[in-house]
């Protein structure tokens, strides 16, 4: 009986052990099957899906720019035999291996229609008259008009030439005209300066790229009148009328590129930071070119800007010297007088000095009322504004005459040039932004990507693809619009405040957090599993021994 009790105890014990083993196994199973996935899921950061593959495609940007050209021959330039094949169209493609840029020039040749002939011959059409006048002068080969036409005078063609020879002779000159009126390779490379190595860029285009303000959705233009001596001069300037008639037409033309807001102010007792020197030879005060760079800083502190917007500001200052330092002239680096009496600083704005000492005599009652001649002032400011906004100095080849844009502010072909370089710049910037954002989000696994960011990124990618397609097709206006949308969306996505990477945990900190939580729980489970395994091994060894 004692043995029976012992056996029963032993069986109960082994049952107990069996139950214990099952319990340990069950707990381990629950921890592994349920616990670990649950922990993983709940500590995961929410990351909305981003089109990474499309973004990496955008990285290798292959831009193709298309230009449509129409060459019109007036009557008498070609023999009827040469004219047989007209209208003729010809496509010329140029490719630059290094930058992935392709230019397509689609040229159509035709003879002038009757209306065009009449327009050319009519003496009263002012433009035609002027242009013919200019062309009849000796050295002028090409006259580029205000809109998108240019008149080219070429040496007469031999009637024995075939059409091919005629066209190939013309090619060089047509190419020159096209590169002046649309874009040159240097301009496009300068617009892509972020992505492309600057080694191959000429000094002029680098200076242009540093002078012109970066593409931005909006700009603020501020006109300031600085009156350091209100006791002597009481200045009146009709800035509203001047802006309406002189500056606003230019801004309206540039409306597809950016939004502009214009304001003006008058600052009293604002002095230049530099003391001008009196020059006896002209009995006037002069500012040398070297001291000009120190003029801006003391004034800038007082200029102020619109606190609500973060748009870049272009300042145009009109400085009327005080009566003790009048007249004040600016000298350039070779000590010569500057006719405009104005200077500008890249990406900042311009300053013009307006002398009023001739408008009153010494006996006039102080303060003297002075009306400022806004036409002269606006002429200078308009020229500076064009430079600031990126309407580059074109350096046309010799023999080219460019018609001055006058009150419109901007010739159509100048606008086209700006649109080309802006579209390319916007596309380049937007694609760099998107690719760097994708890289950033890929690298840092802890950043939360909200739905709105994913949506902005997707819309930026689709806009970019549309913009590139429109550039290929040659629709400049649409390309610019899509590129603007792309840049807005990409900037909004990149600068979203929620993307702040404050979740940087070094690995040792991660261990320090998880070990006190998980180690006490895992130790009994692991030990019991080990015990089960070792017992199973022992039993198998016993069975083996028994069976032997």
């Amino acid at each position: 009986m004692y043995l029976q009790v012992l056996a029963a105890c032993y069986k109960a014990l082994s049952d107990h052990h069996q139950r214990g083993r099952y319990a340990a196994l069950a707990i381990a199973a629950v921890v592994i099957v349920v616990g670990i996935p649950l922990w993983w899921k709940t500590t995961e950061t929410y990351r909305a899906w981003l089109p990474f593959s499309e973004i990496s495609e955008l990285d290798s940007l292959q831009l193709q720019l298309s230009v449509d050209i129409e060459v019109v021959f007036s009557r008498g330039t070609l023999t009827p035999e040469q004219q047989k094949k007209f209208p003729l169209s010809h496509v010329n493609e140029k490719e630059h291996q290094v930058d992935g840029l392709r230019y397509k020039y689609e040229t159509r040749y035709r003879t002038a229609t009757i209306m065009e002939e009449d327009a050319l011959n009519q003496p009263t059409a002012a433009e035609a008259d002027l242009s013919l006048h200019m062309l009849s002068e000796k050295d002028v080969k090409v006259y580029v008009g205000q809109r998108r036409t240019a008149l080219l005078r070429s040496p007469p063609f031999k009637s024995s030439w075939s059409l091919k020879e005629v066209l190939s002779n013309l090619d060089v000159e047509v190419e020159q005209v096209v590169s002046t009126m649309s874009f040159s390779h240097q301009d496009i490379v300068a617009a892509l300066s972020d992505r492309v190595r600057m080694a191959k860029v000429t000094k002029e285009s680098m200076a242009d790229s540093m002078r012109a303000i970066k593409s931005s959705p909006g700009y603020e233009i501020t006109f300031s009148l600085l009156n350091p001596d209100p006791r002597s001069h009481s200045l009146h300037w009709d800035i509203e009328g001047a802006v309406q008639s002189c500056i606003q037409p230019l801004l309206n033309k540039l409306a597809p590129i950016a939004n502009f807001s214009v304001d003006s102010q008058i600052l009293y007792y604002a002095v230049l930071g530099v003391n001008p020197r009196f020059d006896n030879s002209v009995s006037a005060y002069t500012l040398s070119a070297d001291s000009l760079s120190h003029v801006i800083n003391p004034v800038e502190a007082r200029l102020g800007s619109n606190a609500a917007s973060s748009n870049p500001v272009l300042n145009f200052l009109l400085y009327v010297p005080d009566s003790h330092h009048s007249p004040l002239f600016i000298r350039d680096h070779s000590k010569r007088e500057v006719p405009s009496n104005a200077f500008h600083s890249p990406r900042w704005g311009g300053i013009m000095v307006y002398n009023v000492n001739e408008m009153y005599g010494p006996e006039a009652e102080r303060p003297v009322d002075i009306n400022i001649n806004m036409a002269k002032v606006m002429g200078v400011f308009l020229a500076q504004l064009r430079l600031m906004l990126g309407v580059q100095h074109t350096h046309p080849p010799t023999g080219f005459v460019l018609q001055s844009p006058g009150s419109a502010g901007l010739a159509d072909w100048e606008l086209d040039r700006l649109l080309w370089s802006r579209s390319v710049e916007n596309i380049a910037t937007a694609s760099t932004t998107i690719t760097s954002l994708a890289q950033l989000l890929d690298q840092i696994g802890n950043i939360v990507i909200n739905d709105n960011i994913a949506q902005q990124v997707s819309s930026a990618v689709t806009s970019l693809q549309s913009a590139v397609a429109e550039l290929e097709a040659g629709n400049l206006a649409f390309a610019l619009q899509y590129s603007r949308e792309a840049i807005l969306a990409s900037e909004r996505a990149f600068f979203d405040p929620s993307l702040l990477h404050l979740l940087y945990f070094p690995d040792d900190q991660k261990f320090a957090i998880y070990i006190p939580l998980f180690l006490p729980m895992c130790v009994p489970i692991v030990l019991s599993l080990l015990k089960i395994v070792s017992e199973a091994k022992k039993r198998r060894a016993d069975k083996q021994a028994k069976s032997d």
């Binding site: 540093m210 609500a308 200077f343």
Partner: protein, 387 residues
């Protein structure tokens, strides 16, 4: 053999000549291409709070003062001060922050513009300013609106350690986070060149991890060394400046907007004999040679200027403005202030009767306590002996 020698000699001469010509060409190149920047920004941060960290605020304000003196306007400076020393209750000379003992130099002045003050100086705000990820309602003065042609000066001071900098005595920024922030700035082309100066203990550890191009860094001490403070002022009762920034300020006081001092001079500021710690610098990520970088490229704001050669002839005349006569016929109604303060009434007013208020909590509590003690001592049944 002699032929080879001659050939080699000739090659050497030619290459020397070419190098000489190249050098002449680059020195003749305009100011435009020597530095490539068109505007300057400065981000100056003091990360310490409490009165005994007076010297960190004085450090930052000294650099602020130098930077303003050399031309950077307030609109281009983001100044973050974690505590207000000038109006601190313990300041025996209110509205001043001195940087020299015997109160020689007041760096607070009367035109200090602090953009982030007090508890707004956090790691999050600092990183947001650098990367530009600020909420849309942030005003312009609190933003770093730099572009790809901006040179930025970043100055940090406070208490730091190996690989981190302490903000407000409660949080830290690590060197990895700083390096990542600079990389994001580079990706978005928010700077042309960046000069990073840090004056903390073990400051060199903060620039170890930088990996973006066009960065130059200076620190006041190496890893394992402490940056020491300079002199205490017995009247104010705290140390006024740190040694490194004190000698940096001394150096900068000699720089004026047209000076040609370069970065090599800056590296020599505060050698170990003066600073006790060894200042360090890092230039391997910088493209240009430090000897050709002017101090004013970062600390000042020398503008590139071009003469306007072309003007546009406006053919349509602008309407002339209305002629105003000198005496001013236009009568503008004289404006008066509305009578908001009827002073005559106030002067002759009688003092108002104050309404009666029941006694407040403290008095009530005190009475209750006294009553309780009384009843505890004497018991309720003894009440009839009293009343």
């Amino acid at each position: 053999m002699s032929h080879d020698f001659l050939q080699m000699h000739l090659k050497a001469v030619i290459s020397c000549l070419l190098i000489f010509l190249y050098k002449v060409h680059t020195t003749k190149a305009g100011q435009f291409f020597s530095s490539g920047h068109t505007n300057n920004w400065a981000v100056l941060v003091c990360t310490s709070r409490f009165w005994f960290n007076y010297r960190h605020v004085a450090n930052t304000l000294s650099v602020y003062r130098s930077v303003k003196r050399l031309g950077i306007p307030d609109s281009h400076i983001v100044l973050m001060l974690a505590d207000d020393m000038a109006c601190n209750y313990r300041n025996p000379k209110p509205a001043t922050v001195f940087s020299h003992k015997n109160m020689e130099l007041n760096v607070y002045g009367d035109d200090v513009e602090v953009d982030y003050r007090g508890y707004e100086v956090t790691v999050e705000n600092f990183l947001r300013v650098l990367t530009g990820r600020l909420p849309p309602s942030t005003p312009r003065s609190k933003r770093l609106l730099s572009d790809d042609r901006s040179n930025i000066l970043i100055y940090l001071t406070g208490h730091g350690g190996n690989g981190f900098l302490k903000f407000q005595d409660s949080e830290e920024i690590s060197n990895m986070e700083l390096a990542d922030a600079f990389e994001q700035m580079w990706q978005k082309r928010r700077y042309n060149e960046l000069l990073f100066i840090i004056d903390t203990c073990q400051g060199a550890s903060m620039y170890e991890r930088f990996y973006s191009p066009n960065l130059m860094a200076l620190a006041s001490s190496q890893v394992g060394e402490d940056s020491l403070s300079h002199q205490p002022d017995l009247a104010i009762g705290v140390h006024l400046m740190d040694k490194y920034t004190f000698y940096l300020l001394e150096f900068l006081e000699e720089v004026h907007p047209a000076s040609q001092a370069n970065m090599n001079d800056l590296f020599k500021v505060c050698p170990q004999s003066q600073c006790v710690s060894t200042p360090g610098h890092r230039t391997d990520l910088f493209q240009r040679d430090p000897g050709s970088v002017l101090i004013t490229d970062f600390f000042g704001s020398v503008r590139k200027v071009e003469i306007t050669k072309d003007t546009i002839n406006l053919t349509s005349p602008v309407e002339p403005p209305i002629q105003r006569s000198g005496s001013g016929d236009i009568q503008i109604e004289s404006l008066t202030y509305v009578d908001q303060l009827p002073v005559a009434e106030i002067i002759h007013q009688k003092p108002k009767q104050k309404d009666w208020h029941p006694p407040d909590g403290f008095i009530l509590g005190l009475w209750t306590l006294i009553l309780l003690v009384f009843f505890q001592t004497y018991g309720i049944k003894h009440l009839k002996h009293i009343f």
